[in-house]
Symmetry: C2
Subunit: 326 residues, 2 copies
């Protein structure tokens, strides 16, 4: 309902729309429209009310509210209809997503927050995310697949973000498996979790944290050297709402592709963005804790990294890769 | 405490032990001993009390109570100390185990029940389990491994049950991946679930349902053709407590071996018990839903089944195998 009101006010492009007109189109009472407008105002929507003229939308708030994000969103599964939940401040969106998934939340449900107080990256690393400057969300996916397939959805998510960046004319680089990099620093972190039986995945939760509008100065000293932000790449602020919408649309596209065709096209796109293959790398295996050097050759059909070393080919299913300067 | 009292009474081998003596050994008051004895009686322990003579254990109840199972249990991790929970009737022990694991239950925690009202086997099949005649439990494991390693703990569990059967001089046959069979019918079902990140497993829950003392006649008509029970193999009732203790001990041994040495020895033992390799099989892949025929060649390093078919070698990660009569 709120989304539909926003849609109409946006459609009016700065002109007034009467409450009567809106009420008629949405087939509800004028009182109901008035109540919803009050709620939208509380959320920070700058909506002007003027007697008989009705309502005019002056400014939408810089919050990733469903009403704003879903207005104009072109997806079939991801964040479609009532599959989007917004929170101001949470411990971690993955935690909420896991609970909701356990309780039966639908395929494609998205939990987005303005701030995470306990956000974690891979390998238990803290994730810096000041309020209103990042895009922090978790996707609940329910693909028909085995536990061993889960890492491929991480690659999918990285490609989705890279595709969204391309729509914003921002260069995108992916370091295996799923780090979006700029100038050797990380712009986006992805943390994938799963619940499964041996025969089938129950659900996958993909947590995506995007540094959107964080300036160089805002990053804490220890993070400054390893983190970058979309605004830095762009040379100016980006619209979080528009970028988030683009990521959701790209996720939806790729997820639908996977359901029809498998991962072939995802891998092709991943290779296009990747900055790892063909490079000398230092690898720390998550499996053994051991580190070794080699040349990253390719990804295999499981999305694992194949590294050729002095001792032959090694397959890295999970771990940390750093690219050595040549 | 209760376990220690049972230990002492069992040690007295049918003789009376005075409350004073027990209290002194356990360094508690005689009132505390008396209270614990009352609780044990409520659980069905037949304990005789006679004035100054004290207490004598006549009969322990046929319940898989921690006090009984842990008395004489030789394990380091599995069901050790307070890591055992007993319930009379539950929906499913896996469900409880997953909740406890999520809340942080320790590596090796065991949840055992006398009855399951909503027990499920693999592929959502119902699991028949009349009260007090099966051994129904779930293990919480927290190994350091990747999601792709989880299926191997299923093989481990099957080998543990087979080893326990060998201790009871019962022939054990494993059909890939983890079905314990007798005369072409299933004696034990195992359902493994996991929660993980891409880099590490959070926990694995192995649900094991053992048909212990269910006679041919007791199985419902549709299950009779596909199910067997330890008592049928044994030609008479077996002690659920003793068999359960043996399974826990074998799990503990194998789990410790894996932590030190990996899965090599597990696979060797699995091959020894298996009735699948070298046989013509019909396979239904859980991954694709497709079925095909071939010869089961071996298991690979992931525990997957390698099947040679007309169209070359196929690797089956999860699914259903039926052995064709030759």
């Amino acid at each position: 309902m709120k989304r539909k009101i926003i849609d109409m006010l946006k459609g009016a492009a700065g002109n007034f729309l009467s409450g009567e007109e809106i009420a008629e189109k949405l087939n509800v009472t004028r009182t109901s429209i008035w109540k919803n407008i009050q709620t939208l105002k509380k959320f920070g929507y700058d909506i002007e009310s003027r007697g008989k003229l009705g309502y005019k939308l002056n400014q939408i708030p810089d919050l990733l509210l469903p009403a704003a994000v879903q207005s104009g969103l072109n997806t079939k599964i991801i964040a479609a209809e009532n599959r989007m939940i917004h929170k101001i401040s949470v411990d971690s969106t993955n935690k909420i997503a896991k609970r909701l998934a356990y309780e039966g939340a639908a395929d494609g449900t998205v939990i987005v927050a303005e701030e995470q107080t306990g956000g974690k990256g891979r390998l238990e690393r803290n994730f810096f995310s000041p309020r209103g400057k990042s895009i922090l969300f978790s996707l609940i996916l329910r693909p028909k697949c085995l536990p061993k397939d889960a890492p491929k959805f991480t690659l999918m998510s990285a490609v989705a973000v890279a595709n969204a960046m391309q729509r914003f004319k921002l260069p995108a680089q992916i370091k295996w498996p799923n780090d979006i990099m700029f100038d050797g620093r990380k712009v986006v972190g992805i943390l994938t979790e799963l619940s499964a039986q041996i025969e089938k995945v129950n659900y996958i939760v993909v947590g995506i944290g995007i540094n959107a509008n964080i300036s160089r100065e805002e990053f804490p000293a220890d993070i400054k050297k390893i983190a970058a932000s979309l605004s830095e790449i762009n040379g100016g602020k980006i619209s979080r709402i528009d970028f988030f919408r683009a990521v959701l649309e790209e996720c939806d596209k790729l997820y639908t592709t996977i359901k029809l065709d498998g991962f072939k096209k995802i891998f092709e796109q991943w290779r296009k963005y990747n900055i790892t293959l063909g490079r000398e790398v230092k690898v720390i295996s998550a499996e053994t804790g051991e580190s070794f050097f080699g040349v990253a050759e390719d990804i295999d059909e499981d999305g694992a990294l194949i590294v050729s070393t002095e001792n032959g080919r090694q397959t890295l299913y999970a771990g940390d890769v750093s690219i050595r300067n040549s």
